[in-house]
């Protein structure tokens, strides 16, 4: 197989784009499967069904803020500065609003006063992927619910379909977010910034997994409190995540909807 590095790949796709041929043709230029193989070579962390378990007792306000910071910095998620157009991949929410329907007025104070870290649940049966008219959001074989921001037409059907409020829409141009709030934007030159009019959300750090790294939030949390967040393959019986889920009681958001959320909250 001809070896192909990132530079060559970009060259070929770049030229074909200039010639007005589009991305699909670029792939046809290469031998079938070559581009995929080139990407696969780099993959270090592979899984069949990625999942995340959050230890609620360890995740305090400070750690959660650090996680959000790490996530939004890695993915160039700007602070728009108004809640109406807010873009969030990872955020905090109280118990009542994280688990509506399970609220209880006599709930233990430690839960009542605590915030929970919310993100896309990378559902086993994701309603957003069902709803998308262009397959701009789809479920990968490793379980990640992925977004193609270059295909998304901005119809926002996925946002109506998601019962977790995990999707954000770029109501304006995110590159024009207030400089005062985003002095170093874009914070990560490896990740493309988005254009206005497309939907985005947490993608379980697929780009980091491909390089053999843990998701940014997991890394940030565990740096402060080891095992505060456990990320791993739910299909592998002796993976770390399966081990903790076997021993700890965990809850999920709105499991009754049949979406099969893969983010677990150990309480």
């Amino acid at each position: 197989m001809m070896a192909m590095d990132r530079r060559q790949f970009l060259k070929i796709t770049g030229w074909s784009a200039l010639l007005g041929l589009g991305g699909k043709t670029a792939f046809q230029w290469l031998a079938p499967g070559e581009a995929e193989a080139a990407l696969e070579q780099a993959t270090k962390l592979a899984g069949k069904k990625w999942g995340m378990a959050l230890d609620v007792t360890l995740l305090d306000e400070e750690i959660m803020s650090k996680c959000i910071q790490a996530c939004h910095a890695y993915y160039n998620v700007p602070n728009i500065g108004n809640s109406k157009e807010e873009i969030k991949w990872l955020w905090k929410e109280t118990y009542d609003h994280s688990f509506p329907g399970q609220e209880n007025e006599y709930l233990a104070d430690k839960f009542k006063r605590r915030n929970f870290l919310l993100l896309c649940n990378h559902c086993t049966n994701p309603p957003c992927c069902r709803a998308c008219p262009t397959k701009a959001t789809w479920k990968r074989e490793d379980g990640i619910v992925m977004m193609d921001m270059h295909r998304c037409i901005g119809c926002r059907f996925c946002m109506a379909a998601c019962p977790y409020g995990a999707r954000s829409f770029n109501w304006g141009d995110p590159r024009l977010a207030p400089k005062a709030l985003n002095p170093n934007f874009p914070t990560n030159s490896e990740i493309p910034t988005r254009s206005k009019g497309v939907v985005e959300k947490c993608q379980f750090c697929a780009e980091r997994l491909a390089k053999g790294q843990m998701p940014a939030c997991v890394e940030a949390a565990n740096k402060i409190k080891p095992n505060a967040m456990v990320f791993g393959d739910l299909e592998v019986p002796d993976s770390d995540i399966r081990k903790v889920l076997r021993t700890r009681y965990s809850i999920r958001r709105k499991p009754e909807l049949g979406t099969g959320p893969n983010v677990f909250y150990m309480i």
């Binding site: 807010e86 609003h97 109506a160 109501w171």
Partner: protein
Amino acid sequence: MLDKALKGSPIYWGWLIVLLGFIGTGFLVYLYQFQEGLKITGMSRDVSWGFYIGQFTYLVGVAASGVMVVLPYYLHDYKAFGRVTILGEFLAVGAITMCLLFIMVDLGNLPRLLNVILYPNPTSILFWDMIVLNGYLFLNIIIGWNVLSSERKGIHYPSWVTPLIYLSIPWAFSIHTVTAFLYAGLPGRHYWLTAIMAARFLSSAFCSGPAILILFCLIVRKFTRFDPGKEQIRTLSSIVAYAMILNVFFFLLEMFTAFYSQIPGHMHPIVYLFSGLEGHGKLVPWMWTAACFAILALLLLIVPATRRNEKTLILACISVFISTWIDKGFGLVIGGFIPNPFERVFEYWPTLPEVIISLGVWAMGFFVLTVLYKIAVSVKEEVAV
């Protein structure tokens, strides 16, 4: 037949110019939206569909209601409707034009529109909605045009049109059923997650569409030498009456399920719409307006004397329009998003640019409709002479 659209009275031309003014203004404001993004609308992270999708939903109903004149005429051989079927079909064409435009102005990235065809996803209801809406548009254009031009020549329409006419009947039901499925299949949106949604959509469509058609028939009679006919209007008014009764009945069924079961998720959107939730109640006066007009419409339509009197019938039709427009073009979409998936209340209100763009789309629909009606009515006048 297009030549018929090029000869008209000063009123006709004046009206078209007024519409062009609205279209032009709407288009300019759309360019501004295209530049700035949808942030110029009232929509938000929490209420991610608004006025545009509401108008779209309402107008799909108006389009589908064309079948209320097509079905009796072609399936039941109810001859009287021969005079008005073309008006119903062209009303559908105008309404679908607006539907497609409302979807387009709502997209975050319009230039990528064709991705729906290039990368179709058959599990997406929006993909199927695109198929049925475009199909219905073409069916109505082909059928309407051929039947009308044959009428002009004094011959029977070509036989190949007949299967298309039969096809257009279930097709009309399908467009509004599929549109209801956009909403009724989403987990976690309590106000929409109801099996009766498609039935509600069809009933409200079959009262609002024919109500609009009655008003248009009366306008046509006033401004042209073509009279759509007394019997036709009388039959249409009965259709409006039955459909409106069903529409209100279905809505009350929703009420019963929500408030007898007392399941908070089922009650919250309705409470928000009719009495406000957690101190937020922007839609409350609107929903009560809709309710009052629904009651007025029912009274005027059920009492035979007021239904048969054209003056009170006009009032009834306007009431049906206002009531169903608020309920479906506004409350239905907004109510589905409030409270949001976190059970928090964030309200929505359309902005001025959003309203101007919407007016532009309505004007575009009326422009198409006016031209088509002008052609239809000119042919009818010509044949009558």
